[in-house]
């Protein structure tokens, strides 16, 4: 009756991909696993095969390539601060990484895992018993979104803080699929559908993340949360400008995918902020109300623009 559970810890990417192909229907890659294992306890994750990637050394490197910094997907969030280049070039990424979970979790959680962190909702991140009691929602094969009462769309929140920072920095990711390897801008992998938030299938691996160097980025990061640690975001905002005068606003926690607004220096910040608010599909699935989070987008972005102007 019970399907036999298996666990693998491959030592190379090739081995991992092969193992995945052998268990295609019922496996899950594990990076740090700090979210996936909790989801397993809550039975929103039920794969019988776990492929633990943490033994793959080639995915744990940080290196400077031509015009970009490459961060291996398995670099732990806590290890990022060991690379001085990050503090110099992309302090916002350190700030975002530092804002994730708690210090002890960050020693296990990886940047790749965080970028692919499953969307969250008060009505989904619960035990099997709880979800049965509330009546299963759209994200767990139910008929209705508990948060909105709707039957069409799942609005589970985009939860990764580091992805918000990375997108503002025009980061790309190196992706491996069964038969292909390609590079794609990070912001393009997200679908906006709360149920299937990423365009990837289960066998897709992020090998590394590349951030362009020498762009003269300046950023402001903000995260709305009740405690100063141990929190998923209720709203994460990053505003980044570069030397060419590009402005990029990225929001997390207020939509199933990162909300991205671009502009250029000279644009009316008010107009950019208005666009960002309008684009955010916030619902009441968080400890803070929909309205408050919406209002805070404006407050945070205003403050961010002021900080950048200083």
């Amino acid at each position: 009756m019970n399907i036999e559970k298996t666990y693998f810890r491959p030592q190379s990417i090739g081995e991992a991909v092969q193992l995945a192909a052998g268990h295609e229907n019922d496996f899950r890659y594990l990076a740090g696993g700090t979210d996936v294992i909790v989801n397993k306890f809550q039975e929103t994750e039920t794969s019988s095969c776990l492929i633990d990637l943490t033994g793959i050394g080639e995915m744990r490197q940080v290196q400077t390539l031509d015009h970009c910094l490459s961060i291996g997907a398995l670099v732990c969030l806590d290890e990022l601060k060991n690379y001085p280049v990050l503090a110099v070039e992309f302090p916002v990424l350190l700030e975002a990484a530092q804002a994730v979970a708690s210090p002890v979790i960050r020693k296990t959680a990886t940047i790749g895992g965080n970028v692919l962190c499953e969307n969250r909702c008060s009505f989904f991140n619960q035990t099997e018993w709880w979800r049965e009691a509330v009546g299963y929602c759209l994200k767990c094969k139910g008929d209705i979104c508990i948060a909105t009462g709707g039957t069409e769309n799942c609005f589970s929140k985009f939860a990764s803080d580091t992805a918000i920072a990375l997108i503002s920095l025009d980061a790309t990711i190196s992706v491996l699929e069964k038969d292909a390897a390609y590079v794609v801008p990070l912001e393009e992998i997200y679908t906006g559908d709360g149920i299937q938030p990423r365009k990837f299938n289960k066998t897709t691996l992020i090998k590394s993340i590349e951030i362009p160097l020498d762009r003269g980025f300046r950023s402001v990061f903000k995260k709305l949360r009740q405690r100063e640690t141990l929190e998923f975001s209720s709203l994460t905002t990053v505003v980044t400008t570069d030397r060419q005068g590009k402005i990029k606003i990225v929001l997390g926690g207020v939509d199933p995918k990162p909300v991205v607004i671009t502009g250029k220096v000279g644009d009316d910040p008010k107009e950019l902020i208005r666009k960002a608010v309008k684009k955010s599909r916030i619902v009441n699935n968080d400890v803070y109300s929909r309205q408050y989070r919406k209002d805070m987008i404006t407050v945070y972005l205003n403050n961010s623009f002021e900080a950048l102007a200083r």
């Binding site: 210090p103 002890v104 400890v287």
Partner: protein, 931 residues
Amino acid sequence: MERIKLKINGKQHELLVESHEMLSAVLRDKIGLTGTKIGCEQGTCGACTVLAAGKPVLSCITPALRFHNAEITTIEALAQNGALHALQQKFVGKGAIQCGFCTPGMVLTALDFVNNHPNPSIQEIKEALSGNLCRCTGYKKIIEAVASYAAGTPESKPAVRQAGASAVGVSRPYIEAGKKVCGIAEYADDLRIKNALNCKFLRSIYPHAKIEDIDLSEALKLEGVHYIATGPELPVKFGVLPISQDETAMAIEKTRYLGEIVAAVAADTASIAAEACKLIRVKYRPIKAFLTIDDSLNDIGDCEKIHDYGKFNNNVHKKAELRFGDQQQGLRDADLSSKMTFEFQGVNHGFTEPHAATAYWDENGLTMHTATQVPHYLHRSLAKVMGVPLSRVRVIKPYVGGGFGGKSDPFPHEVIIAHLARKTGRPVRVRLTREEVFLTNHGRHPSKMTVEMGISLEGIIQVLDADIAIDGGAYGSFGVVTSYYNGVLLQAPYKLDNFGFRTFRVYTNKPQCGAMRGHGAVNSRFAVESLIDDLAHRIQMDPGEMRMKNFLDANTLTVGQYRITSNGSRESLQKVMEQSGWKERIGKLPPGHGLGLACGFFISGSALPIIWNELPQSVVHLKVDFDGRVLVTSGASDIGQGSDTMLVIMVAEVLGIDPELIFVLAADTLLTPVDLGSYSSRVTFMAGNAAKDAAENLKSEILTAVSAHKEIQESELNLVGSRVFSNDRSVDLSWIEAVDLLIAGRGAVNVSGKYISPKLGGDFKGAGAGLSPSYSFGACVAEVQVDADTGQVKVLQVWGAHDCGKAINPMAVEGQLEGSWHMGLGQALTEQMRYFNGLLVNNNFLDYKIPTSLDTPDIHTNIIETIDPEGPFGAKECGEGALHPVIPAVTNAIFNAIGVRITKLPIDAEEVLRQMSEIKKTEVSSESNLA
């Protein structure tokens, strides 16, 4: 199953593990290293932290197989050859250990941190520890311990006691601190009894539903399932209060809350039991659920009541009302009055150790090892429900990982495993998940109240009236007491002539509420302190000054005939006002900053027992034998507050002997005399007095024996410095020599001591509620910063003072105060139980937001001593009352900062913003009116 090699604490292990087994399970269940604790199974509490492959890892969410061939260090490896690691010494020496459940994870996290950051700032330490939750200490002493270790100062050995030096009033680590810091103190889930079955529960998925059918057939077929019990097998009702025993172990015929136990499985393993629960088919017929106070106060028409109880057609459980003086006249006499409506969400104890227990039956009847605060009441409940004489039940309390009121009722899981153990003839164990702990609840009642106060222009209180409704959830628990406490505990610390209240407690279809630290009066105290702040502001009087004018004196009676003996209200308030620089700083802070103050008081144990009888409230036995050791046996339950240590100090003080000669055996209802338990802040006062009484009786025996043998007057003899000597030193015996004389021709000597409260109180109905032989008093000042853009409130500092009579163990008292203030700040700022259609939404430590070390402000701790005439060596309560003033101090500081009056808890940034914008509008319109 897969083969794994692990080098754990230097020793190679090779064993089989389940493919998805977590490292914590391997360490605890397969290797037997139970120092690694399981608190949340979510990675949020940090109790399971171990060092794996060189770094801290949350072992409860990390697969063991990841660490094949790796080195693992658990807490058990830190002490070498019996000597504590320097960091462990700091934790012990600084009082950083209370219940000890978070300690192993905290120590390992701190050790790794300091190894990698040799000279950390305090802020860095706070940040580093912020993934390890502690509910007892408020983090202050933990941070001190880590800072002191990092600074490399060796922990000074406790000073050798001077002969004749007193034991009382000297800070000392808990006697069991060394055990806790090494991870070898056994908590309920650490106990490994051979051949035990594991229990899991099937819980209701409806708040209020008829159970039409339960089909166990598929579940019973599962291999490894031994027994499945359902409600009708345990029909006898129980509950902590004799007057509202309204709960059965499992739902019978209907369920009354989402999460109520419907069936229980005993199986070879916990996972088989859980699997079996999923195979049980229950047919429910949902009926109308009552989820709010208003729903339950109203007539319910044709719907079914939650309990067939009470003569009215509503869900009111208890109405309590008392009136003193003439409130109408008081209102007429008042020059101005203030009336406000308040609303409070429920909060939960949040102890780090989940409920756990093991039960078995043998020739002695039932034995129950369980994480409980009140072995005695559980003993009675188990005998009642199991239908056996009291003489056939033994309750043993192991080390307990915090309680705060949440482990003070007899619980369904305890009753059920007793039943399953009897049915299967095997020991049965259970550990609740964190979600189940939240569903079990018994936390602070959600409350609504309208409170009115009138004062004269001189700031003298003329009248106080409170109209209160509290949401009890599905069962009674301590609710009748809570109902009274909400009202009666307003009659101090201020003098009131005209005072009255009415409280309704309603049943709702939610997890039941009960007693939580500061029981019953935290919310109504908040209301009163907010009103005083408002009125003081309106008559332009300093709120501290106004309170000073109204304080009751020492040695007086309150309007409801509470006997106030020692009273340190004034000293407490004065202390925090001075220390915070109140007079110099108030009104001169930068924009958005504010200072607020508030006061409070609490009982030192209820003068009346819950179950009315003529027994003493506490009895302590002492035995001394040939080895000179004094064995203290007491039913008092140390749940991390340090009561075992307190007993040692009491006895050492009276007998003048070294504490090392004293050994405590506590909270085992076969071996220890009755103590009513660790609730209502009664233990130091009552068990302490009983221990003191017993020690005095032993002293008298010794004096008699020595006097007889040495032919010297008893009055000539002294017991000091572990010696018995006469004033002229003609007799000068070591302790052991004196004991030899005592036991000569007689053998081991047993003596007993007791505590019985004096007769107190008026002769009206309800006069007994809140009666206590003594009351504690205290005050807090808080400083806050409010962000005008976001409405977010940050508490910058807290100054607290608490009159505990006499600090028997000052370090332990500080720990209680700091923990109380920390818990109060949680209720003020972030903690609440959020429900969606009766379903608890935030049933875990990620979403139920206990402040972390980073969220806890600097706390300035002050002990005020007033030497209570009846407290043992002058001592009274310090574990609960301190919580009361801190919450209104924070909200009064918000008013001082931005003029916003908070009337709902927890403080909501959105509400702060809304009120700020209203104030702005009013200002604009009044300016335009002026124009």
